[in-house]
Symmetry: C2
Subunit: 322 residues, 2 copies
Amino acid sequence: MLTGFRPTGPMHIGHWFGNVMNLVRLQEDHEAFYFLADWHMLTTHYDRTEELPENVRTLALDLVAAGVDPNRVTFYRQSDVKEVAELTLLLGMITPLGWLERVPTYKERLRDMAERDVANFGLLGYPVLQTVDITIVKGELIPVGEDQVSHVELTRELVRRFNRHYGDVLVEPRALLSNAPSVPGSDGRKMSKSLDNTIDVRDDEATIRRKVRSFITDPMKVRLGDPGRPDICPIFALHRLFSQDIYEWTRENCSTGALPCVDCKTNLADRIVAYYAPFRDRREELERTPGVAEKILADGREKVGPVVEETMKAVRTAMNLA
Amino acid sequence: MLTGFRPTGPMHIGHWFGNVMNLVRLQEDHEAFYFLADWHMLTTHYDRTEELPENVRTLALDLVAAGVDPNRVTFYRQSDVKEVAELTLLLGMITPLGWLERVPTYKERLRDMAERDVANFGLLGYPVLQTVDITIVKGELIPVGEDQVSHVELTRELVRRFNRHYGDVLVEPRALLSNAPSVPGSDGRKMSKSLDNTIDVRDDEATIRRKVRSFITDPMKVRLGDPGRPDICPIFALHRLFSQDIYEWTRENCSTGALPCVDCKTNLADRIVAYYAPFRDRREELERTPGVAEKILADGREKVGPVVEETMKAVRTAMNLA
């Protein structure tokens, strides 16, 4: 099983419930490869690489503090595995441009980033790089959300094309669909670093309380005592994740108007603070060891090396490049 | 100074007069990097890699026998330098698709190979790979024909773009225009392996004589004694390269009709055979040493390593990927 993380910033609670929680569970009974996709980040953030070293370090520690176990998982940094670039070059030689131009997220990215200059060769080649990430470690299972299924489909097609040309060398992966809850941010939209609406997993108590207070709630609930609509309220959506103990109670008392938003937010903040307390402890402990992120990733590089070399030897031989 | 050779087959006399002769001269007073561009070959020949190992070996020995001196030149195989793939991935992140789509040779290739499936990501990225070949060894001078000037121009633009983003890291090369003679093949078109109209430099005497006899001549010179038009005859074009001693004499006696084509061809074949006799001797001597091509290319890899590593260190540091 394989998954990658774009080091665009610290882990937020959208990452945790949307992905990481699941991966911490999956590492128990799968041979898991988790990696920090720093080269991927360049497809859209090539002009912001000054943030990269700190983002990589932070995300590595966030993931380990969240429960990714480097002793169990092969946990590495993409750019440490130079063979990824070699296989990307080789696979690109047989990747029809039409396949890449049709990828829905490619068109979305071009549209979303219209103000920035991202219509580059690297962005178009994103799915080739992703295919390499997967196949270079013989990835079989790719945990993805609904919106990523088409990427795995392209990877499968590309693997079949390679194997048709050069023999049965690459492993065809399949998607492991996860139905993760969508986590809203402070503005009600999907929580995302780029929207600046996140609560980060490593935020301290004061920051969590401040951020929770800043969340929008039902705009129709204007005065104290007005009835609220919990099902459209992002705070209530977060209660579903953090507040099993008072979830139904909150729904009732919001709907009747008995529960003021300010109290409801305090209840939520209390629970988020408590939920991540063990995380913050582990995170601080890791932070006290100098060079620990570097050490973890260096070990991961060591561990992934033989797997990668085995794939590359087979690929080079099959393509008569050995 | 840098140049690459696509290992699509043995060196023919078009290569020699068009390029190699010049390069053998240039190695005398330049720090020269010559390489076998096997990854480049995949952009159009990804489905014919079974020919690749022998093509690489043959071309390496052909070039050395022709005078490329591995003790003077850094002579290596592209795919031995894995860092080329890494830098290609990185440079691709900042290469606008529009620049690549406008390259004239890209459109030509798509047209010429309409019957084959080459509209691939790798073919579109050809100029990125070429830019890497040049910049990874800090190439300054690129000997090219007229038709390649636009490639060097794209390389220069890409280097400037990289340096604008990441600081003054890559060296901007310039084209060294060579006005090489065009060498016709047996059908009167430009000599080219893909047209199957070549005389190879390593052909033995019998093969050279047979191939010269197969050349077309002036179609209006039908009968013995008919006057010929040397200026449209491919045999006469080759006399210009091989027959200083009888060049004017041939022109006269062809024009008057006194010189039968069959004799004119014998004269040419005699001279080609003699011209390449020293080449064939050196070529045979090389062939007698087992593993000599592999040894030469391994030495070249060793020699180019520190130059490449210096560039890559600077690139990774500049992009915050170190």
